[in-house]
Assembly symmetry: C2
Homo-oligomer: 739 residues x 2
């Protein structure tokens, strides 16, 4: 099997340090590569699953450390590790260990039945007429956008009684992976020896743009070149795009997030974290060839199951220096930002019910991120973990020294270490005004500039191959809450001052002599950016219109653009150096272990697998399954206090329900943020569950996999169909599942 320890390999880095908030361990994940890094940040980088008291987190993580010593997975104990490429499945291992050899047809069918939500998350086709199943917390951003003061579908749920009632979503793009090509040689050929990092980056970017443009033109599909093994391989992923997506069914938030922030990352769980969309083509439900059959019976205890989804980002290849940077610099910073935003959103919600509704989805996402980051940081702060990485690194260095063919690779670790130092310096200048209105203004300003350049020289998000996705975002009619934008912008301006100091000339230009509060108010009161028609005028008008535009948000974006580009370029240069260094480390791993190692997660389709099984915690056996009846007991145990209040629909239906219907279950599959909404299938390729979370013990999966206690948590297929029939009077939807 080759390496199954922490030396699997990865993709690293993004432009804005703040964007990386989203690239950690959420079960929902950052948007796909084609989108501008921050346009989607506000509503996409945070997972919206929801957790137990700090006390319990502490206690459990403590046990994890105490039980596992350190977490280098043993060769047998943790055998089901891996987020495998569909183009390189571990067939031998599955055959020898599990007696199951998936053939190409099995894999192709599952790949094409899998769907990526570009706002961050996974999904699957579950009917021939276009039904798409994902998590409520993956759909919640869209469900919130469809809601308003009078119809809060997020809180109260939604059901289309007929196809005509299915709600068109404003800016959702779903991707179906249809083909994978290896383009490593073509990409690497463009980078000539002796090029500086900036030159190498430009050359690599140009050749990738050309490859994508050519493929996109040839196939009519979305084509993304994906960096794998941190720069060891480049693959061209071809996606069929669906942009007419409609909401079919969503349960109440109280059912989807039952137990709220307190139960998040906990197990046992009782959540109906599911919703259904439908893709349309030419105004009619799309005909889907590859959809998953539905297995109401779900999986059995101990059964091998597969998870097909888009894990967002892992850091298993990270060197010790990179992990130290994460531990001492980036994660503490990110956590400060998360807590800051949490408090801001809590305060905003005090304004009244409508304020609360506007803030809610984002607040849940930040709560989730905070819990996830705290788990990750707690893992990194255990001295034993860093010692384990140091020991591994030393062993690898010994192998490099003893192998003359690897001589050129010895400096890779030092290069990564130097990048961390430079990243820490760059953080001291890095700022973001990441709000929807500012991001839109910046995109418009940059669009005018980038469109003057040849396609291959543009920033990636402005390439022709991404134009349709970009325009969907720029011209989205999704509601913008200006009052919320205002408090966020004021806070981000204040934060920019805190980072760069009040005497910084750029800050002074940004503020124009006013306080952050006054300046944000001035701009938000006057800007027309929230009007999609105005944005359309600016897109159509081109550079001259932008130059002449006196909208204060456009002017602000113009004021900051040069510095934001400089910081982005500086970050991307560091990314490039790291990419080359990790590329070398990957080659070392290939040389030692062969190529049967899986790359770190990159928000592209992967296959994970594992057994449905419980685990031991504090001397107690946690069972693999919960039941729907157990949800009522759980509510009772918590005195029916918020967040343990099942919705009225559940209480009304309680007598109709089969209380022993399995509800949630756990398995050992190796997943991470971005896997939210992934279908769980059995050997027959039938859908038996829906991934929605991991337990507390899985929070360190960013850095290492262990199957001792870490578990992926799913909604049982039978619970979804039973809820549709017995609770939501949606038999007409349940009848379509798997057909």
């Amino acid at each position: 099997m080759g390496s199954r320890g922490n030396w699997s390999v990865c993709g690293v880095g993004t432009a804005n340090p703040c964007d990386r908030v989203g690239s950690g361990l959420h079960f929902q994940s950052p948007p796909a590569g084609g989108c501008p890094p921050t346009v989607l940040f506000a509503h996409s980088c945070f997972d919206s699953t929801i957790h137990k008291t700090m006390k319990n987190i502490c206690f459990r993580l403590l046990l994890l450390v105490a039980c596992c010593g350190f977490w280098g997975p043993g060769p047998a104990a943790d055998a089901d590790e891996g987020m495998w490429l569909f183009s390189s499945l571990p067939r031998e291992y599955l055959a020898s260990e599990h007696g199951f050899r998936p053939d190409q047809a099995w894999a192709d069918h599952l790949m094409r039945a899998s769907v990526r939500f570009n706002v961050g998350g996974s999904a699957s086709f579950v009917s021939s007429n276009g039904l798409v199943l994902t998590n409520h917390h993956v759909g919640s951003d869209t469900i919130s956008k469809l809601s308003n003061e009078n119809n809060d579908y997020f809180a109260n749920g939604f059901l289309a009684r007929t196809q005509a009632e299915e709600l068109e979503t404003p800016d959702l793009e779903l991707n179906q992976l249809v083909d994978i090509d290896d383009v490593t040689e073509k990409v690497n050929a463009a980078v000539k020896p002796g090029m500086s990092p900036a030159e190498a980056l430009a050359a690599r970017r140009a050749v990738i743009a050309d490859i994508e443009a050519e493929a996109s033109q040839r196939t009519g599909n979305r084509c993304d070149v994906v960096t794998l093994y941190g720069g060891g391989r480049y693959n061209l992923y071809q996606y069929k795009k669906y942009t007419d997506v409609r909401l079919v069914w969503a349960p109440e938030a109280d059912a989807a997030f039952f137990g709220g922030d307190a139960d998040n990352f906990e197990y046992p769980r009782y959540c109906l974290d599911a919703c259904l969309f439908r893709v349309y083509e030419d105004g009619k439900p799309a005909q889907i060839d590859h959809f998953l059959e539905w297995e109401d019976a779900g999986p059995q205890e101990g059964e091998l199951v597969f998870v097909s989804g888009n894990p967002g980002s892992t850091s298993r290849i990270y060197t010790t220096a990179a992990l130290q940077y994460e531990r001492d610099v980036r994660m503490p910073d990110v956590l400060d930002f998360i807590r800051r935003r949490e408090i801001l959103l809590q305060q905003y919600a005090l304004g009244g019910p409508e304020y609360k509704r506007q803030a809610n989805d984002e607040l849940l996402g930040f709560q989730n991120s905070r819990k996830a980051y705290m788990g990750m940081l707690a893992g990194l702060q255990d001295p034993a973990f860093i010692q384990m990485k140091l020991d591994e690194e030393k062993a690898l260095m010994d192998q490099i020294r003893n192998n003359s063919e690897l001589a050129g690779y010895a400096d890779a670790f030092q290069q990564v270490a130097e990048v961390q130092q430079r990243r820490a310096e760059l953080r001291k200048e890095s700022f973001t005004l990441n709000t929807r209105v500012y991001n839109l203004a910046r995109t418009l300003v940059r669009l005018a500039t980038e469109d003057q350049k040849p396609n291959s020289e543009r920033l990636p998000e402005f390439r022709d191959s991404n134009r349709e996705s970009l325009m969907q975002q720029v011209l989205s009619e999704a509601p913008i809450y200006l009052e919320l934008e205002r408090v966020k912008l004021a806070d981000l301006m204040a934060r920019t001052l805190e980072i760069r100091g009040g005497e910084c000339p750029l800050c002074q230009a940004m503020l124009d002599g006013k306080s952050p509060l006054a300046r944000a108010d001035e701009i938000i009161s006057a800007t027309r950016i929230a009007d999609a028609g105005f944005r359309k005028q600016l897109v159509d008008g081109g550079p001259n219109t932008i130059q002449a535009c006196d909208d204060p948000m456009i002017k602000l974006a113009m004021t900051l653009d040069a510095e934001e580009r400089r910081l982005r370029e500086a970050n991307e240069e560091l990314d490039e150096i790291e990419r080359q260094a990790y590329g070398k480390i990957a080659e070392v791993l290939f040389a030692i272990h062969g190529t049967s190692v899986y790359p770190d997660a990159t928000f592209t389709l992967r296959l994970a697998f594992g057994a449905v099984k419980g685990y031991e915690e504090a001397g107690e056996q946690i069972p693999a399954f919960t039941t729907m009846g157990g949800a009522f007991d759980h509510e009772e145990r918590h005195g029916k206090q918020d967040p343990w209040q099942l919705p009225k629909s559940w209480h009304d239906a309680q007598s109709n329900m089969m209380s022993n219907t399995p509800y949630n279950f756990v398995c050992t599959a190796d997943i991470i943020g971005g896997n939210s909404g992934s279908p769980v299938v059995n050997r027959q390729g039938k859908l038996v569950g829906l991934i929605f979370d991991g337990n507390i013990q899985s929070l360190t999966s960013d850095f290492f996999y262990s199957e001792k206690q870490a578990r992926a948590t799913s909604v049982h297929a039978g619970a979804i169909s039973h809820a549709l029939r017995a609770i939501y009077n949606a038999g007409h939807i349940a009848d379509q599942l798997g057909k």
Copy 2:
């Protein structure tokens, strides 16, 4: 009148950067100088008054800036500025502007009727038999300590129906100021020319210890030397101490904090933020000669009133460099810490009702601090404010240049600027494990060492003159919630790693090879520090017992003591340099303006004054008074949702109440954190109200005073007595007020 602008003068700096969290603008304030800086930190540095949504804060501060331009108080418009020493009242000004010349008897009576709560806050004697009136949020720390799982007096209120039922408090010390002496010459004589800052600090500390010891021995009272005008003057304050203090009455938190975090710092308000204690001597109610008479009728609109209390800390003398440090370094850091602790306490409270009870008082304090700091930082981030300070500084420098007698003082500004740079560097190493158990362990460890030294060489909190107060804290039987201590300690250890980096040898020694979570659990599970009897053994045993002690918390404190002392000394050296520099600046101000300037606040007794009057906000006139009936309307307007739910007692009593009884009122007196609980008296010296808050517009009072919109908020005297009679069936208490 001399200077009435921002060039009033102050005391600066404390040892641990984190301690300074408490020294900002709260209406409750840090403990008095005699206590170890961090022993009391957890429960004393944060105010527990409670505010409206961020939206409204932003909007209002915005208006403040827009309306005032910058805030240099005009000579006439903001004439009631000042926190005056009782030994140097602005009699001429009061006579000429308000037609009232307070005589010595008036001042002495008010001074002696005023009481300081050493946990942070002000109060007054209001009966001959020892009743002490303060805010609920000043008493809440003690009320929480008296509560337990079965009797939550904090939430549900308390009433002693007889004197026998009055509840003994575990560790409350009240101070009554009885005398003030100027000892400036004696202190300054000890500091010889050519001494290094460290030598000067030691010499100053020694002479202060001698002065305090001599006075304490001579009088039997608590004697503190107080640094005024940032080092321009030293006064010896003599306090009579009361350590047998009993709880008489407290309303429900829902009445005291009606409107919660949302209404905090807002006006109009509807809060019964009051409670009553009684001081005892020899087991009997103390006979009090100087107590305030009670004026049920309260003040009239426009009437001149006086506030006698202990404002904690202001920064009006700060140079631009010091303000820039506050803006760019300290306040952002403090706010990150506040939000971090807020989230931690929120999470802890999710554990259930008892967890919530344990966390509640501290959580309210941190919410209050966050709102206050955000207001202050927003003020500093207005470019116009810093510009105003720069202009003032330039004008002062011009006066120095044109006055040969002031030639030696020109470098003071540069010295302050250099200190800020060094403070910023020092922050990068500064950590705290500020929990009750850790602080107690550290105090025990240090006590063993310090007691080996001559009195005058000890750290101030270990001087003989402070021994009784120290022992009251060290041997307090107040409950310690070990689960809460555990999560705080784990978080502070994690934060120490974040600050100093995971590879720091001290961090590694602190963790002993474990993660912060595991290490905190190990220590908290095994330590006996929570047992007051064990602490008594360690105090009695002396150095050998401490050295031989294998309690893990004691060992942890010993591990960290050297570095904590080093950081404290480094900070105190900077304090000394600043003290000398501000001393020079004060001399400049005295030379230019005479000595009729008031010193910055130092948590010692001051007199402020102003008129009862409303203000204009957003074109609307905000009336000075609210009524008790208005509280019911306010509840109705907010849909009776938390935090706008009046307690059952109020609803039961509604028909008995006189709804037009004045409830809260505002006046223009110049107050700051620490003034919470201050009596408001009229020209006759009768109590007409009880300070409990300031409005949003007053949040920048740390740096400047303005009477345009900034207001101090009080409970009306008549509302307190009416509530006692009509709501709380406490006529027997009401009958004693003012008698």
